[in-house]
């Protein structure tokens, strides 16, 4: 029977292999797929590997305690979840990091807020994210009017509820 340490190692390997497969697909695609595609793909890759492990157990007589598989699945999905949570920061050009870079480049002399604002491409600061909303099907642009989709309403409701629970106003 496989020991505990090997099972943890196996759970790690499954999630890392899913992430490697996603990178290969992303590199092959001309246009970057949406965040939604990333969630579906990573979940699918991870589940497929577990199905493969079960098949290996059934057909090759590999000594694996199937009852521990749910725990391994939790560990793998936790790693994949962490990756999905970090992905938007990698994908979008974070304005905070752009600001940080400009301030750091100014050295000990520093930089004034007005000059910093001029240096930033502020027209894309919010406008780019509007395009992302349409790409992720959270909003629609119908003859110049932005309308929230049903999916967008669901997402918005979750965050409004969360911020209300914390007694906090709109972020941004």
């Amino acid at each position: 029977m496989i020991d505990d340490l090997t099972l943890i190692f196996l759970a790690f390997s499954v999630s890392f292999l899913s992430i490697i497969l996603h990178i290969l697909i992303w590199r092959m695609c001309a246009a970057t797929p949406s965040n939604r595609t990333l969630i579906y793909l990573l979940t699918l890759f991870t589940l497929m590997q577990y199905v493969f492990l079960v098949l290996l157990y059934i057909f090759s007589g590999w000594e694996l305690n199937l009852k521990l598989l749910p725990i391994m699945l939790v560990v793998s999905m936790a790693i994949v979840g962490c990756y999905i949570a970090s992905y938007p920061a990698i994908q979008a050009n974070s304005p905070t990091f752009q600001i940080a870079k400009l301030i750091a480049e100014s050295g000990n002399k520093g930089i004034t807020q007005s000059y910093l604002y001029e240096q930033l491409n502020t027209s894309t600061l919010v406008a780019d994210r509007i395009r992302d909303l349409i790409k992720d099907k959270l909003a629609d642009n119908i003859s110049g009017t932005m309308l929230i989709t049903r999916r967008g309403r669901k997402v918005a409701r979750i965050f409004i509820l969360w911020r209300t629970l914390l007694k906090e106003s709109k972020g941004g």
Partner: protein, 171 residues
């Protein structure tokens, strides 16, 4: 110990610890216990890890299972990281703010009107304030001076990972 009971214990402890983390975070933020949001996250994670330890202690009396403890602690830390990002999205994400504005205007808004509700100036000012609050930079004689900190490392890691995922052409 019977494997099925072992799995049931694992999942119930995990759910309980996660619920405790979310609950304690809400109490910390509403009660303004911590000045900084990051400290609130660290405190709620500590509470959930302690709770998991206490519950696991009960199970480990019967079995000396390495997998139970390690995978539980690791998954809880991953959950805390995901939870941190979820909360951070509500706090900082431009997309969520825009969705909120659209949610409040079900008949729709033109792009210009949407930008009136969430102007780039506001997005810029909020980020400057956050950098100052986090102690990443300081303001002296109306000039912003970089003090260096964790953001430099995070920025490097994000850039590096972005390079790996998207390749040099798409960056």
């Amino acid at each position: 110990m019977v494997d099925t009971a072992f799995i049931v214990f694992f999942f119930s402890f995990m759910i309980l610890s996660c619920a405790l983390q979310i609950g304690s975070f809400v109490v910390i933020i509403r009660g303004k216990v911590c000045g900084r949001r990051r400290s609130a996250h660290a405190l709620s994670l500590s509470i959930s890890l302690l709770a998991f330890f206490a519950q696991t202690g009960f199970v480990l009396q019967f079995t000396n299972n390495f997998l139970f403890l390690c995978s539980g602690m690791f998954s809880l830390m991953c959950f805390a990281y995901i939870f941190f990002h979820f909360d951070n999205m509500g706090e900082t994400a431009r997309r969520i703010r825009l969705l909120w504005e659209l949610y409040e205007h079900p008949t729709g808004l033109s792009t210009d009107r949407l930008l009136d509700y969430y102007p780039p100036e506001e997005a810029f000012q909020r980020r400057i304030d956050r950098l100052l609050q986090a102690g990443q930079c300081s303001c002296s004689k109306e000039r912003l001076i970089w003090r260096g900190g964790s953001y430099t490392l995070i920025q490097f890691l994000m850039k590096f990972w972005g390079y790996i995922v998207f390749g040099p052409e798409k960056r």
